[in-house]
C-alpha cells in the first residue's frame, strides 16, 4: 500500500459537505455515548474499576455474539451479557485483589464464548467484525431513539445516587458509618456501568470500550481534582473523541474506532504532560512545603 492509498483510505474529505448530513444520526449517537462515557468514567476511575470494565465488555461481546447466532437483537444480547457480568462482579465482593483475579478468569472465557458463537454464525462477516471494533455508522433512527432513552436512564440513575456514590467511592468505611448503603450503591453503580458498557460497544466495539469509559476520565484527572471540573472535562473529552472520530472517519474506508481511540489517546497525552507540569510547579510544591514546615 502506497502512502497516497493509505491517506486516501484514512482521510478522505471529498464530497464532505454532502456526506455530513447523512451521518447526522451517527454523530448524535456519538455525542450521547460520549456524555454517558464521560460521566460514568469518573466513577470508574474513583472506584478503580478499569479492569472490570474490560471484563464486562468481553462478556457483553459474548452476549451479542450469541444473539447474532440465534437471530435475536444484538444490542439486547450485549446488554444482557454486560449487565449480568457487571452484577456478578458487584456481588462478588469488595476486595480489589480478589476481584481482579476473578475478572482475569472470566474475561478470556467470555471472549472464547464469543468467538465460538461467531464461528458458528453463518451470516455477513461485517456483523461479526462490528462487535469487536464498532459499527456506529450503521445506526438508524429507531436505534438512535432506543440509545437516547437508555442513555437517559443511565444518566438519571447516576445523578440520583451522585453524592452518596461519591462518598462511598472515596471512603467506604466512613460512608457506611454514616449510614450510607454502600453495598446497595455499589450494585446500583455496577448495573448502570453494565448498561454503559453495552452502549459503548456499539461505537468502539468490545475491544476498545476503555477508550470511551476510561481514557477521557483519566485524562481529566491528570489536570484537575476539582470534582465539577473532572466531570466537565471528562465529558468534553469523551464527546470530542466520539464526534471528532466519526467526523474524521466519514470519507475513509476504515471503521471509526481507530479515529476515536487515537483522538482520546492524544487528549490523554496532552493532559498527562500538562498534569506533570502542574504537579511539579503547583500542587505538590505546595504540599511539599507544608510537609517541610510541619
Amino acid at each position: 500500500m502506497s502512502w497516497t492509498d493509505f491517506t486516501g483510505a484514512v482521510f478522505n474529505f471529498t464530497d464532505y459537505a454532502e456526506l455530513l448530513p447523512l451521518f447526522r444520526d451517527s454523530l448524535l449517537a456519538g455525542a450521547i455515548l460520549g456524555l454517558v462515557g464521560g460521566l460514568i468514567g469518573t466513577f470508574v476511575m474513583m472506584r478503580d474499576l478499569a479492569f472490570a470494565v474490560h471484563g464486562i465488555a468481553e462478556l457483553s461481546f459474548a452476549g451479542a455474539a450469541f444473539a447474532l447466532l440465534v437471530g435475536a437483537d444484538v444490542i439486547l444480547g450485549s446488554l444482557v451479557g454486560s449487565v449480568l457480568a457487571a452484577l456478578l462482579l458487584g456481588a462478588m465482593g469488595v476486595r480489589a485483589r480478589e476481584k481482579n483475579s476473578v475478572i482475569g478468569v472470566i474475561m478470556p472465557f467470555g471472549l472464547g464464548l464469543g468467538i465460538l458463537f461467531l464461528s458458528l454464525y453463518q451470516g455477513r462477516a461485517a456483523n461479526k467484525f462490528g462487535l469487536l471494533t464498532g459499527q456506529i455508522v450503521s445506526v438508524d433512527s429507531t436505534q438512535l431513539s432506543a440509545l437516547a432513552v437508555t442513555a437517559l436512564v443511565v444518566i438519571a440513575g447516576l445523578v440520583l445516587i451522585w453524592r452518596p456514590l461519591t462518598f462511598a467511592s472515596a471512603d467506604p468505611d466512613i460512608a457506611a458509618a454514616r449510614g450510607i448503603p454502600v453495598r446497595t450503591l455499589s450494585m446500583a453503580f455496577m448495573f448502570l456501568l453494565g448498561i454503559s458498557v453495552a452502549l459503548s460497544i456499539q461505537v468502539v466495539g468490545a475491544l476498545l470500550v476503555l477508550a470511551l469509559l476510561i481514557t477521557p476520565a483519566a485524562a481529566a484527572l491528570q489536570v484537575t481534582a476539582a470534582p465539577r471540573m473532572v466531570v466537565l472535562l471528562s465529558v468534553a473529552f469523551a464527546i470530542l473523541s466520539t464526534v471528532g472520530g466519526i467526523m474524521l472517519a466519514l470519507g475513509g474506508r476504515i471503521p471509526i474506532s481507530p479515529y476515536v481511540t487515537t483522538l482520546s489517546f492524544a487528549i490523554y497525552l496532552v493532559c498527562r504532560v500538562a498534569g506533570s507540569w502542574r504537579r511539579r510547579r503547583g500542587w505538590s510544591a505546595r504540599a511539599a512545603s507544608l510537609r517541610a514546615h510541619a
Binding site: V94, R95, L160, I161, A175, A177, R279, R286
Partner: protein, 284 residues
C-alpha cells in the same frame, strides 16, 4: 434502670449523657469480649479505650456505630438507641492514604461530611460552601483547602477527616486509632485538635488507641479492656501496676518516666484472634 446509676453531670445542657451503656455484653460464640459494662460518657468528656489487639476495642466502636449489635444489655447514643448512620455520631477511622488521582480536593473531602449522604446532586451551594469553610478553619486546614487529597500528608488528611466528622455537629466523636502511621508532630497536633473539640464544644470523645501517651494530657477517663474483663477510671487510677496486673491476671509492670506511661510484661495470649465485624465496604 439500675439503682446505682450515677446522676448526670451538671455541665450537660440536655441533662443526659452522650452515650449510656447498661450491663452491656459483647460475645462471639462463647468468647466474651466484655460483659456487665455500665458506662456513661458525658458531653465534653474524653474517654480513651485501651487494650491489646483482639481485646474488643474496635468492636466497642462498631457497637457504638450501630454496625454490630450488643449480645446483651442496652446502649443509647444521645438518648436514642444506637443505630447505623446516627446523626449524633462522628467517626474518624485510621489514616488510610488516598490514590494520588482521587478527584477530591481537601474541601471536597470535608464537604462529604456536610451533604455527602444526601441523594442527587448539589444544586445550591452557598450554605454548603460556608459550612465547609467554617470546618476547614476549625481544624486549621484552610491553607491547603484546594489541594487534591492524594497529595496531602497523613496528618493533613486526618485533620480533614476530623473536620468531615464534625460537620453534622455530633454529640460524640468516635476515633479509631486516628494517630496510627502519623509522625510524632502530627500525632500531637491531631490529639490536641480532638481534645480541644471536647473541651470547647462539649463533644464527647471516644478515642480507641493502643498507645495512651500521645493523648495522655487530654484524657479524662480510660476504659481498659483485656481478656474478657475491663476497668474504668481516670488514667491515674487505671494505669497502675496493681490494677492492670489484676486485669490481666498476671503481673505487669506500669512504669512512669518523663510523663510517659509504659506497660511492661503484657501477656501475648490475649492478643490473638480478631473476630471483628466490619462494615460492608471495608476492604483489607
Amino acid at each position: 434502670m439500675r439503682p446505682d446509676v450515677p446522676a448526670p453531670p451538671a455541665e450537660d445542657p440536655a441533662g443526659r449523657p452522650a452515650v449510656t451503656l447498661r450491663d452491656a455484653r459483647l460475645a462471639y460464640g462463647n468468647r466474651v469480649l466484655w460483659d456487665g459494662l455500665d458506662l456513661d460518657i458525658t458531653p465534653g468528656e474524653f474517654l480513651a479505650v485501651l487494650g491489646a489487639n483482639g481485646s474488643g476495642k474496635t468492636s466497642f466502636l462498631k457497637v457504638l456505630l450501630g454496625l454490630a449489635p450488643l449480645s446483651a444489655g442496652s446502649l443509647t447514643v444521645d438518648g436514642e438507641p444506637a443505630r447505623r448512620g446516627h446523626r449524633g455520631i462522628g467517626y474518624v477511622p485510621q489514616q488510610k492514604h488516598f490514590a494520588p488521582d482521587m478527584p477530591l480536593r481537601a474541601r471536597d473531602l470535608v464537604g462529604l461530611g456536610v451533604d455527602g449522604h444526601k441523594w442527587g446532586v448539589r444544586l445550591r451551594g452557598r450554605a454548603y460552601r460556608r459550612r465547609v469553610d467554617e470546618l476547614l478553619e476549625q481544624v486549621g486546614a484552610t491553607p491547603y483547602a484546594r489541594i487534591p487529597v492524594g497529595l496531602l500528608s497523613g496528618g493533613e488528611q486526618q485533620r480533614l477527616r476530623i473536620a468531615q466528622a464534625l460537620a453534622p455537629n455530633p454529640r460524640v466523636l468516635l476515633c479509631d486509632e486516628p494517630l496510627l502511621s502519623l509522625d510524632l508532630n502530627h500525632q500531637k497536633a491531631v490529639s490536641a485538635l480532638v481534645g480541644h473539640q471536647a473541651r470547647a464544644n462539649g463533644t464527647a470523645v471516644v478515642f480507641v488507641t493502643h498507645e495512651i501517651n500521645p493523648i495522655l494530657e487530654h484524657v479524662d477517663r480510660v476504659l481498659y479492656l483485656a481478656g474478657g474483663r475491663f476497668t474504668i477510671g481516670t488514667p491515674g487510677e487505671v494505669m497502675t501496676t496493681e490494677v492492670l496486673s489484676k486485669l490481666y491476671g498476671t503481673h505487669v509492670e506500669v512504669l512512669h518516666s518523663n510523663g510517659r506511661i509504659v506497660v511492661v510484661g503484657m501477656p501475648e495470649a490475649v492478643m490473638d484472634g480478631h473476630p471483628e465485624v466490619l462494615p460492608a465496604g471495608e476492604a483489607a
